[in-house]
Structures are given as C-alpha cells and as structure tokens.
C-alpha cells in the first residue's frame, strides 16, 4: 500500500475540487498530494524525467513545486553517491508552497540513488527501483554490504521493482537502436511507470518526446517505446493497489504556466525594459546557478535585448555600467563568487550614481562552496560588501514566479533613483518551478525614466548652467546621456562636488557621503508599508526573506491551524526596509527569523532595531521543509 504523506491532514483546510477530467482515474483512490523524487546517476536523465512529470502534472491542473538537485560535476563518477542527481516534485490538489517535506515516492535508478535518498523518504513510502542496476559492482560503489532488495532492509516500504534496463532494451530491439543506446531510454521506462501509477495523461508526453528530440528519429522511437513499456509494465504487474490520483487544484481562475525563477527573472527584466521604454543590456560571465538568465535573455534580441558574454565577472558588470552610462538598463547576473569580484565596480556605480542591476543567484559559499546547492548567505555582502561608505538598495525574490516582479522592482529603483541595486535570488528559486498565473501586461507597474536635456541650474549673471550632481527632492541626480548637446561633463570615482568635478575638500566629502546615504534611505518613501499575514492578535512574528517564503508560509499555516496565534512578514526590500517595519517589528513579543545562513538578517535587525531576534538557521544546501520549520519555530517560541 502506498501511504499518504503523514502530514497531509494539516493542509486540508481548503475545499478539494473534484472534477472528472480523465476517465482513467475514475476508480482510483484519490490523494491530496504526492511528493515524487526521481534519483539516479547524473547521466541517467533524472532532471529531464522530473521535468516532464512536472509538466504533465501542471497541464493536468495540479499545484506543484519542484526542487532539482544535481552534483557540481558534469559527470561525477558513475554509480557513486557523489554522482547522484535528483529531482523532487510536489504535486497537490490544493495551493502549496514548497517541494514538500519528505518524498512519498522515490524512484531509484541505482543503488547509490537508493542509498543517498532513502533516508529522505516518508515511513512506509513507495520505492520504485530499477533492479537491473543492483549488481555487485554497483552495490559496492554505493557502499552496500548486501543487496537491500534481498536482505529485508526495505521491509518498512512499499517496494516496486522492475528490470528497467532489460525491459527497455527489449522494447527497443526491433527499432534498429543499438542496445547501448536503448539503455539510455530507461528513464522513460521509469517515467512510464510513474505516470501510470499516478494517473498522468500520456498524450502530452508523447507530443513532447517528438518535439524535444526532433530530427533524431531513433531516439524518439526508443524513448516512446520505453515510455510505453513502463506504462504497460505497471499496468500488468498488478500494481493497481498502488495506483493514486491527485486531482487538479482549485487555483484562482486564469492562464497558468509552470515557471522557474531564472526564466521569470529574465522575463521580468524584459518587462521592466518595456515599462521603462529603454533597452536592456546584460553583461554577464557564466556561473552556476545564474547562467540560465544569460541563456534566456540571449534568445530575446527582438525585444532589443543586448547580451554580452564578458571575459570575466568584472567585465560583466563593467560593460553593464558602461551601457547604463549610455542610457540602457545595464544588468549583470552572477552568483556569490562573481558578486565578490564585482564589488569594486559596484562601488564605482555608487559613486557615479548611475542605474545598474546586479542579480545574485546565491549558492552555497564561501569560495566555490556548494555551487549547485542553494543558500542565502550573500545578504551581508549585498548590503555591506564594498569598501568605503557605499550604501545601495537590496531587494530579494521569494518564489520562482516572484522573480518576475522582483526584477521589475529592482529595475524601477535603479532607473528612478539612479543607483546600483542588488537583486538576490538563489539556486532553489532559480531552478525550482511553480505554476504561475500570468499577469496582465497592462497591470504591470510603470517605470519612470527621465533624462536631463537642458541646463538644470542658473550660473553667474543668470546664464544657464549645468550641474551633473544637482539633486531633486528625492536626492537623485539627473541622468544625462552622452551625446546630449551642450551638457558634456565628466564623472568619475574620485570624490566630486555638485559640478561633478574633483573635490578633495573635507567638508564636501562628508556632505557627499551623508547625501548618498540619505538618498538610498529616501527610497523607502516609494515602498508600500508592509502588511503582516496571520492573526491580528498574534504575539509571535515570523519574519523571513528570500526563498524561505514557501516553507515559512506552510509552517505558519500548520501552526495556526493547530490554534497558535501567529503573524508572518516576508521582506522584499532589505535596504531600505519598508517604512513601517520598525513600528511593526516592535509590536510583537517574539520575532523569529528563519534563514539559510548563520543569521545574517537577524544580525541586521538586531543592530537596526535594538530588539532581540530568535534566529533559526540552516546551512545544508537545501531549503527548509515545513515540518522542520514547525518544530524549530515551536522550539524558538518556548525558548
């Protein structure tokens, strides 16, 4: 029997929508959610398989969240624990926020995958295993003394085995595909089995295989045959008792797409360029996990997007700054190590007061750290990681789809206030997906752009004069494009006065430093006050930022359903804070801040507001699960 995930009850406060969308599912027991984890060797195509299962589920109407996890090496040694690549997807018939606590189903393509991921699986969970891979060599590589399929160690689980490799080869034998090549399609056999077990419609997958492998007829034939064979195998192997269906979720009406954060962020930048009416320039150097933004933007030159693959991180930000000087929206994308390299140029942008957007898709650090794993440990470097007094706005995205809106907000601040802005995403948001109800293009926020084209000052004897650093009421200096007749001027990183010319005057320096600081602080006036979610009479506030939003929302929801009064705030703006944050944060007895670092925001809030903060931290390269957050928030409350 397949067990229902042990915490399913806590999220069923919502009405379950039952519609007969697929006849095949009519007699199959329904579950509210399943969490499937596909795990295999990094060469086994697990990301593709997981992706496809996700797409089929999205089109079926489930709500979902995904978590791809892959090794840092392109091909880590085959068969070893280090080489395990996994893709976890949480599908549900209701609104969900995270890729789930523990998988209820593990697809293990080899012993290493089983060994690495079995501890994550729920009690009595389902294991779907490629028995062909459990030979002596592979068992040894995974560190098994005896074969877990035979030694009874999996007794607590629902184990479904299939000789996937052999059956795939068999299915392909008349297609003219070489057995070695046929073997590669075994992930589609697994997908076929899982699709049958969880009643996914199959047509979409057939269409997708044809599209994806267009021009490679043998590959199409092999993948189709393997997929069908898996489907048939599951049906014939008497797995009816294990079969489940997850009904479509009741989501707000609209058109949905399944989106990952890096794509959403790229589209957000394009949308911002449209809203501002100025072209987008991306200067970027490839780095995991940010590179997909470069890939995505490079595809959209018909939007006037110029992408420049620079020789290094420094040239990435330098070229973006040069483009901003020329009147484009200069953007650079990177991850932690790259942000460190860009620091000096970002400081120059602070001094020049030019728009610039720096996107940091954070990963585990320091140094190369955990390049393919997620972490949110770049908050401090974003806020403070420059020499001198160099304040700048920092905004963070909180879900994959939210990356779209966070990008628009980052561009808005950059071009309306003429400042570099750091936009923080992370590997989990960048690669993770969620269904996104597409916004109406007409509802996107406007972005105001002004260039100075006439002298802005009156000089001696009333003659028109011009001051590049003369500020408006928001303390913003004008944006003056090179080429503007009559306004030629010089800017630079040396301290200057309002004329833009070099000034070493001590009083002027202090005035400029304080003015730049006040200028950034003033941005708060353009940020709407933040409204906490949850109980009005709560005494506990859980405050988060970044990709913890899903897990915090789920955890707070569960605790509130158990009767605990709680409030939740999730910060988009980390500098400056929303204008009412000080007042708000002081109105709770306990403020708990979960973070995927050693407590960086907690540290900031303590310093800023002089209040005690309970910090909950996790730094394992993996997001919080709601279940562990519930436990740790309870601990922090009792503390």
């Amino acid at each position: 029997m397949v067990t229902r995930p042990n915490d399913a009850k806590y999220v069923d406060g919502k009405e379950i929508l039952v519609t007969d969308t697929d006849e095949r599912t009519s007699e199959i027991p329904e579950v509210e959610r399943i969490i499937v984890r596909f795990a295999g060797d990094s060469g086994d195509g697990m990301q593709l398989t997981g992706d496809r299962f996700t797409a089929a589920s999205a089109l079926f109407g489930n709500d979902l969240a995904t978590l791809p996890e892959y090794p840092a090496e392109i091909r880590a040694p085959a068969g070893t624990l280090a080489g395990v690549s996994a893709f976890q997807v949480h599908i549900a018939d209701h609104d969900i926020n995270t890729p789930g606590d523990s998988p209820s189903v593990l697809v293990a393509m080899n012993p290493a995958a089983l060994k690495a991921d079995l501890p994550k699986v729920v009690e009595h969970g389902t294991l779907i295993i490629n028995s062909d891979a459990f030979d002596e060599r592979n068992l040894k590589k995974a560190g098994y003394e005896s074969n877990p399929l035979e030694d009874g160690s999996l007794a607590g689980y629902q184990v479904i085995t299939a000789p996937m490799t052999e059956l795939t080869k068999e299915a392909c034998k008349d297609l003219g595909v070489k057995p070695r090549d046929a073997e590669r399609s075994k992930n589609f056999f697994a997908l076929g089995m899982v699709s049958w077990l969880y009643s996914r419609p199959t047509k979409g997958t057939y269409d997708w295989i044809e599209q994806k492998f267009k021009g490679k007829d043998l590959v199409i034939a092999a993948n189709m045959a393997a997929f069908k064979a898996g489907d048939v195998y599951a049906e014939n192997a008497d797995l009816w008792a294990s079969r489940r269906v997850v009904r479509p979720a009741k989501l707000d009406p609209g058109t949905y797409t399944n989106i990952n954060g890096n794509t959403a962020l790229s589209w957000g930048l394009i949308a911002a360029s449209k809203q501002a009416g100025i072209p987008l320039f991306l200067g970027s150097y490839p780095i995991t996990p940010a590179t997909d933004i470069l890939h995505e933007l490079a595809k959209h030159k018909n939007f006037g997007v110029r992408t420049f693959q620079a020789e290094d991180e420094i040239a990435g930000v330098g070229s973006a700054l040069g483009a901003s000087y020329g009147g484009h929206i200069g953007v650079t994308t990177t991850s932690g190590p790259g942000l460190a390299l860009k620091a000096e140029t970002i400081g120059l942008a602070v001094s020049l007061e030019l728009p610039l957007v720096i996107v940091d898709v954070q990963r585990g650090g320091p140094s190369t750290g955990l390049p393919t794993k997620t972490e949110a440990s770049d908050l401090m470097i974003a806020l403070h990681g420059r020499h001198g007094e160099a304040p700048l706005p920092v905004v963070a995205s909180s879900t994959p789809a939210d990356c779209f809106f966070a990008a628009i907000e980052a561009v808005r601040i950059a071009v309306e206030y003429h400042t570099p802005v750091i936009l923080l995403s992370d590997g989990y948001l960048g690669n993770g997906t969620e269904p996104w109800r597409l916004p109406s293009v007409d509802d996107l926020p406007p972005i105001k752009v002004e260039y100075l084209t006439e002298p802005n000052n009156v000089g001696v004897e009333g003659a028109p004069d011009f001051m590049p650093y003369l500020r408006d009421e928001t303390l913003t200096r004008p944006w003056i494009l090179p080429g503007t007749p009559g306004l030629a001027h010089r800017i630079g990183g040396i301290e200057k006065d309002d004329t833009g010319n070099i000034s070493y005057d001590p009083e002027n320096h202090e005035r400029m430093v304080r003015t730049r600081d006040a200028h950034i602080a003033k941005i708060a006036e353009s940020i709407p006050p933040i409204v906490p979610r949850g109980d009005v009479d709560a005494d506990v506030l859980v405050l988060g930022w970044g990709s913890t939003r899903g897990a915090i929302t789920a955890a707070v929801g569960r605790m509130r359903r158990k009767g605990r009064k709680m409030a939740q705030i999730h910060l988009r703006h980390l500098n400056p804070y929303p204008p009412n944050l000080a007042e708000l944060i002081k109105s709770y007895d306990k403020v708990i801040v979960p973070e995927m670092n050693l407590g960086q925001l907690a540290h900031e809030l303590r310093a800023e507001f002089l209040i005690d903060i309970k910090s909950i931290t996790k730094i394992m390269g993996q997001p919080f699960t709601p279940a562990e957050l519930v436990e740790r928030i309870e601990g922090a409350i009792d503390d």
């Binding site: 609209g254 399944n258 420094i314 009147g327 090179p482 030629a488 010089r490």
Partner: protein, 337 residues
C-alpha cells in the same frame, strides 16, 4: 560615426586645471589629441573618453567631451558597454601601461579580439607614476625602482606583440616628442572601424626620465626610428641607409647598400597575415635599438557592435518586435476556469 563638424582646439579644452607634473609627456599627447579632434571633425558632445586609474587616466577631465574616469584596469570593459549601447558615439579609451597591461590586461586583449569600436590610447612610460615609481609590466629587466631595489626580475611585455597576438585589427605606435606623427596616428586609429590601439611612448620625467631618450631625441630619431609607410620598403637612417628584411620570419636590420633597395621588405599594413607585423614588433623590445613607429597593422574585420545590431535586426525581422504578452505565454499554458 557622426557627421563632421568644424571646431577649434579650444572647443576641446575643458575648464579643469591640468595637473600633471610640469614637463610630463602627457601634456604633448593631450594637445595632439585635441588637435587631432579638430582635424577629424568630431563633435565634442558626441565623443566620450573613458579611462581607468593612473596619471594618464586623468585625461578625460581635461577634454571638453563626455567622460568617465573609472577604476583601475577596467576602462576597456566599461567602454565596450558604452560603445555597444551607443554606436552613435565616438568612444576613446585612455590608460597607461600599468592600467592597461597589468591590472586591466585581460580587458585589453578581449576588447582587441572582439573588435569593439573603440580607439585605445596606451600611454607607455614604463613605470608606475601615480604610485610614485614602481616597475611596470613594460619596465626593462634589472630596472632599479623602489619596489625592485636589486633590479626588476620581471620580463616585460612588448605591447605591440601582445595586441597583435590578441587579434587586434589596428595597431599603431607613436611617441610624445612628435606631435605631427601623433595626430596622424590618432586620426587613423579613430577612422579605423573596430578596436584600434596606439601605443604612445611617453616620458615620465619624474620617475623614469629619458626612458625613450635614446630614440626620440632630435639627434637620434633618424637612426633609431623606423618609420613604417604602407606600400613602401622599410627604410630608415640618413638617406635610408638602413632597412629591414624578413629572414625566415625574423625581422633583421641590414645596410641598404649591402642588399639593394629591392631586397628590403615592403610594408603592407593590411597584410591579412599578422606575422610580418609581429616580426617587426620584435625588432626592439627596449628603446635602445632601432624601433618601428607608425601603423603596424590595419585590417578590416567584422565589428562586434555591427554584428550585434545585425542580430537584433534579424531577430526582429524573423520573430517580429518583441511582444511581452506573447513571451509570457511562450511556455505550455493551461486555463483554470
């Protein structure tokens, strides 16, 4: 490129006081650049100078144009972004040997390789001036400076060899004692489409005085400077007494009378094969031997910005101008009623 207009040198002089040491070679270069601008017919408002850090990098402040004094070494990268965003501008880059060849070496070579439309002036005084006299990447081995009291151990770059190796499409050399030659080089570098670099032998009279005295002083020029002229045999010295031949790929100085004029190598700066230019660049790595001046190489190659703009146009022609709503619906979608 912009339409040509008529200006005088004064139109190019900013209101900023020039603050190089008295006697610095930079003064002469500034004057020559301003004069070249009037001859080119550039518009000061359509011209931008981008620099890094160093004595030379103060240059933009003294030009009555748009300008950015940026950070050490990064000017080619910043200027690349500006030039790509604004093909309508004339973008010049100014820096010294420390700025461009040491901390910014990577950006310089990649700007060359890409052929972004930039005119790069490389002031080579073979010393760190602004930090008060350390050996630079072009200082000769054994040079005694504050950071090399027993003599520099570093082998120097030959900047011309370096940029030729970096696929530069225009490479020239001039020196601060010959205004006419400088103006000519600057004009030709400017008119070249793509990345052009001009190495300028520049005297730092405070920390490396006379570095080029052996070749640039009036009485030595004739025998020590090899003027390169396109389409002409490479000759120098009194009445062309000496010349250059390329022997098994190596440039050699010969007496013209010994080999005959017809045997001398004829200079073709548009030679698609850079190896002759490279051989010429190897003639002197220290300014104590006859040294070629002029255009080493000037070849046509696709300009990065032109190709980028063509891709934008093609993408727009093929797919139509970008429509945000279509983009948002470009992945599989489903309706929830």
């Amino acid at each position: 490129m912009t339409e040509t207009i008529t200006t005088t040198r004064k139109d190019w002089v900013s209101n900023q006081e020039v603050r190089w040491c008295p006697g610095c070679g930079d003064y002469g270069i500034l004057m020559a650049v301003q004069m070249a601008m009037t001859e080119i017919g550039s518009d000061p408002d359509k011209t931008a100078f981008v620099s890094g850090i160093g004595c030379a990098a103060r240059f933009p402040y003294y030009m009555n144009t748009y300008g950015m004094h940026s950070i050490h070494g990064r000017s080619p990268a910043i200027a690349s972004g500006l030039a790509l965003a604004r093909p309508d501008l004339d973008v010049w880059v100014v820096g010294g040997d420390g700025d461009m060849l040491s901390i910014g070496g990577n950006h310089l070579i990649h700007a060359m390789r890409r052929n972004v439309n930039l005119t790069i002036l490389l002031f080579n005084n073979r010393i760190y001036g602004l930090t008060k006299g350390q050996y630079s990447p072009t200082s000769e081995e054994g040079k005694i400076t504050k950071s090399s009291p027993m003599g520099s151990i570093d082998h120097p770059f030959n900047p011309i060899s370096l940029v030729l190796g970096a696929e530069a499409s225009f490479v020239g050399r001039t020196h601060d004692m010959d205004r006419k030659h400088m103006i000519d080089m600057f004009k030709r570098a400017h008119d070249h489409k793509g990345s052009s670099v001009v190495e300028i032998f520049q005297n730092c009279n405070v920390f490396n005085n006379g570095a080029y005295g052996d070749i640039t002083s009036n009485d030595r020029r004739e025998e020590m400077i090899i003027d390169l002229h396109d389409g002409e045999p490479i000759r120098f010295g009194h009445d062309g007494s000496h010349g250059v031949i390329i022997d098994h790929g190596v440039a050699k100085i010969v007496e013209t009378a010994d080999v005959g004029v017809d045997a001398l190598t004829v200079h073709h700066h548009d030679n698609p094969d850079p190896s002759v230019a490279f051989a010429l660049s190897r003639l002197a790595s220290n300014p104590d031997a006859p040294t070629p001046m002029g255009v080493f190489r000037s070849v046509e190659r696709p300009v990065y910005g032109d190709v980028l703009e063509a891709q934008l146009e093609k993408a727009t022609a093929d797919k139509g101008p970008g429509d945000l709503n279509t983009l948002l619906h470009s992945l599989p979608t489903w309706e929830v009623g």
